[in-house]
């Protein structure tokens, strides 16, 4: 038999083995795999694109630095379209691939929790960069997140608002799992601080005309307004508030923190205040390195979402490294749970060993003359 044929035969055998789902012992060159699910098409595709960009940046640096003891890591991306059904299908697909050690994503709490049920069943760690619904980490011991929850952020902002004076507040919130929990956590904390809530107004995702909600808010004459939504909706809401002459000071969830808010909203977004973990003006070398690398790779400045994803991927890769090249899914989970003081661009992150909630530090921000400024 000629050598070419021999090689062909080996290849054919290998292909057959793979096709049968038989996992051959990984050779040194075989990369370790992690799955990443995110919306890459549909209404929230811009967030998915940002996550993938940030992930690629982190992964390239990690592999260039030697990977997991010389074994590179590869990320498989799947498009969930921000649809819970798709999210579950992707989770099953990842779970069925024995070489995938852990999963990242999804974007919204709704999809992450749906997919989380699958990961919980098969025992595979899931780390979401953004799912901040309080119930997410309660799905099972396999759920982790790299974002402070609304249960952490809401009380922080509630206290801040009370310190600046307002006694009553109106809440305008997007009607989804995340928005409802953000609004409720904040309302609870604000009342505990001695304030009153004039009302919680929910709007449907996709709604871009806030005039009737704002008129209703204006009728109640609150001292301040708290927005629980994303920066695109907020840009429209704030422009329309300016147009309707609604003057109450506006505070918001950290999800408004993006340069896009100012680009879209113009003058109308001046004065909005929010808490955030990621501040690109932070002089720390890892933050400045990330900001300049991101800018040179993709041409625009990273926002909080990109930073959350960048750190989520970093935390996952650090856990893979700690677990070693021969680790099982369970060992990766345990390594993830043991994360303490990971020095990321969103502050030092540790996971609580019991609740798996991240601890981070929050900064107070305000939009002033079309720029984000850190207060204090």
């Amino acid at each position: 038999m000629r050598p070419e044929f021999k090689r062909l035969k080996t290849l054919a055998l290998a292909a057959a083995a793979l096709a049968c789902g038989y996992a051959a012992p990984a050779r040194a060159a075989d990369p370790l795999l992690i799955g990443y699910q995110m919306p890459l098409s549909g209404d929230y595709s811009q967030y998915g694109e940002m996550f993938r960009n940030a992930a690629e940046l982190q992964l390239k640096a990690f592999n260039a630095a030697g990977g997991v003891d010389g074994t590179p890591v590869q990320i498989l991306y799947e498009d969930s379209k921000n649809d819970p059904k798709e999210g579950v299908n992707i989770a099953r697909k990842f779970a069925d691939n024995p070489r995938i050690l852990a999963a990242l994503g999804d974007f919204s709490s709704t999809v992450s929790m749906a997919a989380g049920e699958v990961y919980a069943k098969v025992g595979m760690a899931q780390l979401s960069q953004t799912a901040s619904h309080p119930e997410f980490t309660k799905v099972s011991k396999y759920q982790f997140r790299n974002i402070t929850t609304q249960a952490y952020e809401g009380p922080f902002t509630a206290k801040w608002i009370r310190q600046t004076g307002p006694k009553s507040v109106a809440i305008v919130s997007i009607q989804n799992d995340w928005g409802i929990s953000a609004a409720e956590e904040f309302a609870k904390a604000f009342k505990a601080e001695g304030g009153s809530v004039t009302g919680i107004e929910y709007f449907n995702p996709g709604n871009r005309d806030f005039r009737s909600i704002l008129t209703k808010v204006a009728r109640a004459k609150p001292d301040a307004i708290y927005l629980c939504m994303f920066y695109e909706e907020a840009a429209s809401a704030l422009q329309q508030a300016k147009q309707l002459n609604v003057k109450a000071p506006v505070f918001s969830t950290s999800s408004l923190y993006s340069p896009k808010l100012i680009e879209l909203g113009g003058d109308a977004v001046n004065g909005v205040r929010m808490a955030s973990t990621f501040v690109p003006e932070n002089p720390a070398p890892e933050v400045q390195g990330f900001v300049s690398n991101f800018k040179s790779a993709y041409g625009n400045a990273p926002n909080m979402f990109a930073a959350q994803a960048y750190d989520a991927v970093g935390i996952m890769l650090a856990a893979l490294k700690a677990a070693g090249p021969k680790a099982t899914r369970e060992q990766v989970r345990d390594a993830l749970a043991a994360t303490t003081g990971y020095p990321g661009v969103t502050g030092k992150t540790s996971f609580d060993p019991q609740t798996r909630e991240p601890a981070k530090t929050l900064a107070k921000m305000v939009v002033e003359n079309g720029q984000f400024k850190v207060i204090e």
Binding site: R208, S212, A218, R219, N245, L264
Partner: protein, 307 residues
């Protein structure tokens, strides 16, 4: 509660009328193609989006006066409408025997083909412009405040109102006073009959698509500048509401669709004062169901076989 009917309530009515006018603006072109011509067209929302993007590109590129922007958007919309007809409708019309013309399956096939064009167009826009809201130069926005006592209007309200009146009047004139309108009504009434009396049905259908789509595109750029957001998915929500308005108005009546659109807008807006805004879509669909139960022909329609 007498103190309820105050300036805020009046503002809520104004909000509702402006919302209704937005729906009406979309519904006018939609009703012309869908209702009058009797073809199921689910790509009107994308024509609306294409119009908004075309207008925005011109604003960013040359910053011309608003009229030029709207005319440009209408030209692009008309071209897109003709393209849509070629892609999604003409291939399905290739059989002209009586059985095929009367076949429901043939008519309903355009539901899927137009839906396909709509999805492909939308995802192409996401591919080239990203799913994000586009940055609109602040000077181009139609959000200049016009205060009337304690109430606020914007110049966008006036433009949208003006455009609705012009479109409605122009279309009624065209449909009932011109030969093009006559042939559109003839084709809508009976394709075979129209052909027998010498009307070029293909040309009439293309003309209807061009006109309806130009109106849809004008709506897109005006509403985009008024609400301050232009993005690939912007056509969906107004498209659905325009559909509801058209059905409520009796499918073939453009003034009916406009009145229903205003009714929808005001009900949604005023309802926000009583229930959570999260439920406001229920108002639209509730009104639709009530209309269909009590007025199966719509509020302003007259009996005719429908898909």
């Amino acid at each position: 509660m007498p103190d309820f009917f105050d300036a805020y309530f009046a503002q809520q009515i104004i909000n509702g009328l402006s919302l209704g006018l937005v729906y009406a603006l979309v519904a006018i072109g939609f009703t012309l193609i869908f209702g009058i011509l009797n073809v199921v067209n689910f790509a009107h929302g994308e024509i609306y989006t294409v119009g908004a993007f075309a207008g925005l590109l011109l604003i960013v590129g040359a910053a011309p006066p608003l009229l030029a922007v709207v005319l440009f958007a209408m030209a692009v919309g008309a071209a897109a409408g003709v393209g849509l007809e070629r892609l999604a409708f003409r291939p399905i019309r290739r059989f002209s025997d009586e059985a095929s013309l009367k076949s429901r399956a043939m008519r309903e096939a355009t539901l899927l083909s137009s839906l396909a064009v709509s999805i492909v167009t939308r995802e192409l826009m996401v591919h080239f412009f990203s799913g994000e809201m586009q940055v609109i130069p602040q000077a181009a926005l139609l959000q200049e405040v016009i205060a009337v006592g304690p109430l606020t209007l914007t110049n966008g309200n006036l433009f949208i109102f003006g455009a609705s009146v012009v479109m409605l009047g122009g279309l009624q004139f065209m449909l009932y006073r011109t030969r093009v309108g006559l042939s559109i009504r003839a084709v809508s009434n009976n394709v075979l009959g129209a052909r027998h009396v010498g009307i070029d049905t293909n040309r009439t259908i293309v003309a209807t698509f061009a006109i309806g789509s130009a109106l849809g595109a004008a709506a897109g750029i005006l509403v985009g500048l008024y609400n301050g957001n232009i993005f690939p998915y912007m056509g969906f929500a107004p498209g659905v509401k325009a559909f509801v308005a058209m059905v409520m108005g009796g499918l073939s009546s453009i003034p009916g669709a406009v009145i229903s659109a205003l009714l929808l807008g005001v009900s949604e807006s005023v309802a926000t004062d009583f229930i959570s805004a999260g439920w406001k879509d229920m108002i639209a669909y509730g009104l639709l169901v009530v209309t269909l139960i009590f007025f199966p022909q719509g509020l302003f329609g007259h009996g005719r076989e429908r898909v």
